[in-house]
């Protein structure tokens, strides 16, 4: 492994540790789990017993160290709500979120990439204007509102797709489109401006001068070089899709990790909150490491530097 990737891995681990620590501290501010777990009217002795059982009577630093030690082994404790290991509860929901985020990202990269490339190739034409207009609107539309509007038209009025739920491919359409909207718009705009930048570079002029067909120039010279900022942004967007899916998943009653964490925050199910956020942060770091790796494949200049 190249040296800069090793140091990126170390930085990623520090980031995950930081996120987990923040969640631990904030969870302790959320309230006393013992009061929540026992029925109203429980005696002080019962409360005290449960606190001892959960380890809440220990000094905070000690609780934190125990928590970290267990977390490293994947043990976030039992979910209060489901009475099962919290990590299992989270991991069960992961495929649903991954499916949704994967579909949204695919739509975003394909449609956003195509629209952005067309806008750059046919610059100054109506195509460019249309792409820019739609992308501007797409970036300005909040996902939860878009989701509800799609439900209004395609589920309530036309009855083409269900309003929510999980299982069939029909359930997947509206949430994916909702989640993909911002990503698609962002990728289209970024790829367009990145391609326009590259088209002014000297090596593109050289490629034309030596008589290459425009199609070859676009694919091999412009395309490849303008992908670098897009890949960076796709990595960041992928992380946002996993976390930002919380709202979309809530709108469509999609049984994913985001909705699980939102519900766990509402019911103060700390172990699930902690496990869920830790999993999301880990995925984010992993995706961005992958992006770093992709760079070195796309751009030989970066390979030589490292």
């Amino acid at each position: 492994m190249p040296r800069h990737l090793t140091s990126r891995l170390g930085e990623g681990l520090i980031a995950i540790w930081g996120v987990v620590t923040i969640v631990f501290v904030v969870s302790r501010l959320l309230g006393d789990p013992a009061v929540l777990l026992l029925p109203i009217g429980a005696t002080e002795a019962q409360l005290q017993e449960l606190r001892t059982q959960l380890g809440l009577d220990q000094p905070l630093l000690r609780q934190y160290l125990t928590f970290l030690l267990h977390a490293v082994k994947g043990d976030f404790g039992q979910s209060f709500q489901f009475a099962r290991p919290a990590l299992d509860v989270v991991l069960e929901r992961l495929p649903a979120t991954a499916l949704l985020a994967g579909c949204a990202l695919t739509i975003g990269v394909l449609i956003g990439g195509l629209a952005g490339a067309l806008a750059a190739i046919y610059r100054g034409s109506a195509i460019e204007g249309l792409v820019l207009l739609v992308a501007l609107l797409g970036q300005a539309t909040p996902s939860f509102w878009l989701g509800i509007m799609l439900i209004l038209f395609f589920a309530v009025q036309l009855g083409w797709f269900p309003t929510g739920g999980y299982g069939e491919w029909q359930n997947l359409v509206l949430p994916s489109v909702t989640l993909a909207c911002f990503t698609t718009a962002s990728i289209a705009r970024l790829l367009r401006s990145s391609m326009l930048d590259v088209m002014r570079d000297d090596y593109v002029r050289t490629a034309y001068a030596k008589g290459l067909a425009p199609r070859r120039v676009y694919i091999w010279h412009v395309g490849r070089n303008s992908l670098i900022p897009v890949v960076t942004m796709t990595g960041i967007l992928a992380g946002e899709l996993l976390g930002g899916a919380a709202v979309t998943e809530t709108v469509f009653a999609w049984p994913g990790v985001g909705r699980l964490i939102v519900q766990a925050i509402e019911t103060k199910d700390f172990p699930v909150v902690q496990a869920g956020v830790a999993v999301v942060a880990t995925i984010f770091v992993a995706v961005n490491l992958l992006v770093d790796l992709l760079y070195t494949l796309i751009d030989p200049r970066i390979r030589q530097e490292s």
Partner: protein, 285 residues
């Protein structure tokens, strides 16, 4: 033809102008809200529940945007909601901006450990989905106006810090800074009088982009029930309430959403224009 090509060349300008105009209009409406003679946004009239919008070519009517499930006037709720949203998002952007700029200045200027710690903090913040961080902190501290501003500021300092740090790294080596240093200027003077003014331009671009993002995040929080609490009207809450009546009264959810989209769009347009205007490389696009 000449006019057409002029408009095409100037399109960044008139889009920016459009954004600025819309934003000024929204701000004016928000500021003038209480004096416009609209119905009380928090008082319902159960006899006038879920009335359809009365706005038409011929006039506004009694309830231009209709009424909601409790018979409250939607237009006055949208305007009252814009006051809340713009106050929270605006304050959060300014607060996050000040913190981010200061941290970025210190990290870029002193380097070393300050820099390393800041960059790790940035990594942590980036790995933490903003929506979940905001939800968690609001749930812990309670959804008061001050807490919401603090939380949203917390989610936005990173971008300022990163861009200021990068700028400081280049400005630090320029002659005028070295000259001031040679003349015996202290760190504080050097940072605030010589470096800060030269790194501020991109900060304004980040601030507009952050404003748009913060407005959406705030609406998302109140959509999930963790924003500013009733009876204060908020756009996110109106959307959440309107969901229930989506089949019978489309206007309850559609119109606040349109207001939200228009606000974000105008801020984005302004931000794009500002970026193109400040970036000389972009002029021929």
């Amino acid at each position: 033809m000449r006019l057409l090509s002029f408009l095409h060349r100037q399109r960044a300008n008139w889009l920016g102008l459009l954004g600025a105009g819309l934003l000024i209009l929204l701000l004016a409406l928000a500021l003038a809200g209480p004096w416009l003679g609209l119905p009380d946004p928090t008082r319902g009239d159960l006899r006038a529940r879920m009335l359809a919008p009365t706005i038409s070519w011929f006039g506004l009517g009694a309830h231009p945007f209709g009424t909601d499930q409790l018979g409250r006037d939607i237009l006055s709720r949208i305007i009252a909601g814009s006051r809340v949203t713009l106050t929270i998002a605006g304050s959060a952007v300014i607060l996050g901006g000040i913190v981010g700029v200061l941290l970025g200045l210190v990290a870029g200027y002193f380097g070393g450990w300050y820099d390393r710690i800041l960059m790790r903090l940035v990594d942590i913040q980036l790995a933490f989905p903003l929506m979940l961080l905001a939800l968690l902190v609001v749930a812990a501290l309670g959804p008061s106006l001050h807490n919401l501003i603090a939380v949203l500021a917390l989610t936005s300092w990173v971008r300022y810090a990163r861009i200021v740090r990068a700028q400081v790294l280049t400005v630090r080596e320029r002659e005028f800074v070295q000259a001031a240093l040679a003349m015996g200027a202290g760190h504080a003077r050097l940072l605030l009088r010589h470096i800060l003014p030269n790194v501020l331009t991109p900060v304004f671009v980040v601030a507009t982009l952050e404003l748009a993002r913060t407005i959406v995040l705030e609406a998302g929080l109140s959509f999930l029930g963790l924003g500013i609490q009733p009876p204060s009207p908020s756009w996110g809450r109106m959307l959440a309430d309107g969901r229930t009546y989506i089949a019978s009264a489309w206007w309850i959810i559609t119109l606040p959403g349109l207001a939200l989209m228009l606000t974000v769009l105008s801020v984005n347009l302004l931000g794009d224009w500002l970026r193109d205007w400040l970036d000389p490389r972009a002029e021929r696009r």
